[in-house]
Symmetry: C2
Subunit: 357 residues, 2 copies
């Protein structure tokens, strides 16, 4: 049966990189490897500009009716002056909440072909392969009450609420443990249990839930120490699981350890296996429209989509192998360029992956 994919390209380089990812999907469709139907939707600043809303109702409805969503990127300086409720990011957050995408998978993988791109010494990062599992629909991102109030004195006071229920923690821990069972069976849960009660409870639930996974080696780090350890010895980690806010910070830190964030995909899943897939890099407004953006993270996001939401692991493997092959061929976009390699643009890179499939 044909699977429905909603494509929301978004802002900045979004449309350019998504176009290349679609070529890859269409090539797999053409050779009969997958059976999909594509629909397009508006999100982010592009949606705000078109209809005054970063997440139009039709987009969310179409997403709900799809098996998976492919997202480019949202945001840019153009929309920064807008009220927080109208910003492009609100489209992304609304999609996460609306689809219940509580599990965000962010691999930080160092491609051997790009080892030199890291700012860290080769022996520290070679072979790096961490999976960060970030809670995505709870915590301080969505907690109530929140806002900015004016005190009787006339002074303003801004506030947000970090909140987790036991079941929210349990379900994200299960996702992490299930993933770890297919990998190195090691999970590090990151919290600030020595200061924040909400994460003290997080740690308790992580431990309790692990009782169902006797083979998992569970460890715990305070978030400050985790950020140190990522810099000191990142290869000690297999799977990390943490809150929405800590996951935002640590996954970007981990991604940058590879030196090539233009290569890193992500998946955001709900309990039904529906997912939204996007590169972890942003909308890069400074290079938008110039045909130089790296489409590989988006193409690899398509691979994650095939694996996690479309039950097409074989096709996913082919995409990943094709990406590896174009790297072996020496093709590089500007962000991952190094001496002796051949610099190509967005379209040429996409075409090369299709050719290598």
């Amino acid at each position: 049966m044909s699977k429905k994919i909603l494509v929301v390209a978004g802002d900045g380089i979004g449309p350019e990189i998504v176009a290349e990812a679609l070529k890859v999907l269409q090539a797999l469709q053409a050779d009969g490897s997958i059976d999909i139907s594509l629909e397009e939707g508006l999100i982010g600043g592009a949606a705000y500009d078109a209809v005054g809303d970063p997440l139009p109702e039709e987009t969310l409805a179409a997403a709900k009716a799809s098996d998976a969503v492919l997202l480019g990127a949202v945001g840019g300086p153009k929309w920064e002056p807008l009220h927080i409720s109208k910003r492009p990011e609100k489209g992304l957050l609304g999609m996460r909440a609306g689809l219940g995408l509580f599990a965000n998978l962010r691999p930080a993988i160092l491609y051997p072909q790009l080892a030199g791109a890291s700012t860290l010494k080769p022996e520290i990062v070679s072979g790096l392969d961490i999976m960060i599992v970030r809670e995505l629909t709870g915590g301080i991102y969505f907690g109530q009450p929140r806002g900015i109030e004016t005190l009787p004195s006339g002074e303003r006071r801004g506030f947000n609420t970090l909140v987790y229920t036991e079941s929210e923690v349990e379900r994200i821990c299960r996702v992490a443990y299930d993933i770890a069972m297919k990998r190195g069976k090691k999970v590090c849960s990151v919290d600030k249990a020595n200061v924040l009660e909400s994460t003290e409870m997080w740690r308790e639930v992580a431990i309790k839930t692990a009782a169902d996974y006797p083979e998992i080696e569970l460890s715990h780090l305070y978030v400050d120490n985790a950020s140190m350890q990522l810099v000191r010895a990142p290869k000690q980690f297999d799977v990390m699981v943490t809150t929405n806010m800590f996951g935002d910070i640590l996954s970007d830190c981990a991604a940058m350890l590879t030196g090539s964030i233009g290569m890193l995909p992500s998946a955001s899943l709900n309990a039904e296996g529906q997912g939204m897939y996007e590169p972890i890099h942003g909308s890069a407004p400074d290079i938008a429209g110039r045909g130089v953006a790296n489409p590989l993270a988006t193409i690899l996001s398509v691979a994650m989509m095939l694996r996690y939401s479309l039950d097409a692991a074989g096709a996913a493997d082919r995409i990943e192998a094709a990406v590896s092959k174009v790297l072996d061929q020496g093709l590089r976009t500007g962000d991952i360029m190094s001496e002796g390699m051949r610099q190509v643009g967005t379209v040429e890179m996409g075409d090369a992956v299709v050719a290598a499939l």
Copy 2:
């Protein structure tokens, strides 16, 4: 007039490293460079073990009556099973709150003699000198309401509150801007203004306050991007200013970029110039009592104390020069040991600094 210093050695390696720092203070006292009187107090797990309270009333009272507090470190696995209100960390947090130490200064400096210790490539970190200014008595660390409640369903729910008033943000920004005026005049304010209203207000206040500092070049980063940029190109930063929680994470990340956190001091100041001084590394229970801990971060904390709270910048300079000299002499504790250097213990390192004064 004699200045009063309260010494709270705390847990783990605390007593060992503080002993060496005291030698340095006493040497300066002996040669007439400073006029101080020392008092000792209990804090952390040691205080809990002795009197059942990680911050006994007498300790806080003595701290309030002092010009400065010298702290070793608190915490250890021994006290982890305790309720959050009795843990060693509570002693530290209580001291911060009790003295109103809202400004935490955390330098991340790469000593040229230790450049090889970094996990980052030399060209990325050589000459690194960042000052992180962390808000220390507000934000989610102290916000109310907080706790763990049981819902009608029987499920538990943990919650914490991130809260800032405009005046809290303004005063920490002023500290950062004042410090930057004596350095590179560049300040990067770190927030998550695209998601958290409290930090949207933070950014507004940072901008408004900067109007009084026309020479300061103020920039803003979202915290996830800041953690990336610290790994990608840390030398772009001069002074960073941020919330209590983000500062906890980013300052540890920045410290680890140097590869030698055993070298990094910190200062926590209140509006009256009273301060608490401590190494940024922890209590290292695994090596406690073995005479191998690096006392240099604590000794450099004494230098910060002399500079910021005791009006003795000359003596501070002498300590820093002495530390540099022992490094030039090739002396290294285990944590910063490298080939061709001479490995020494805690006491020998302290003695060498005194000799080099």
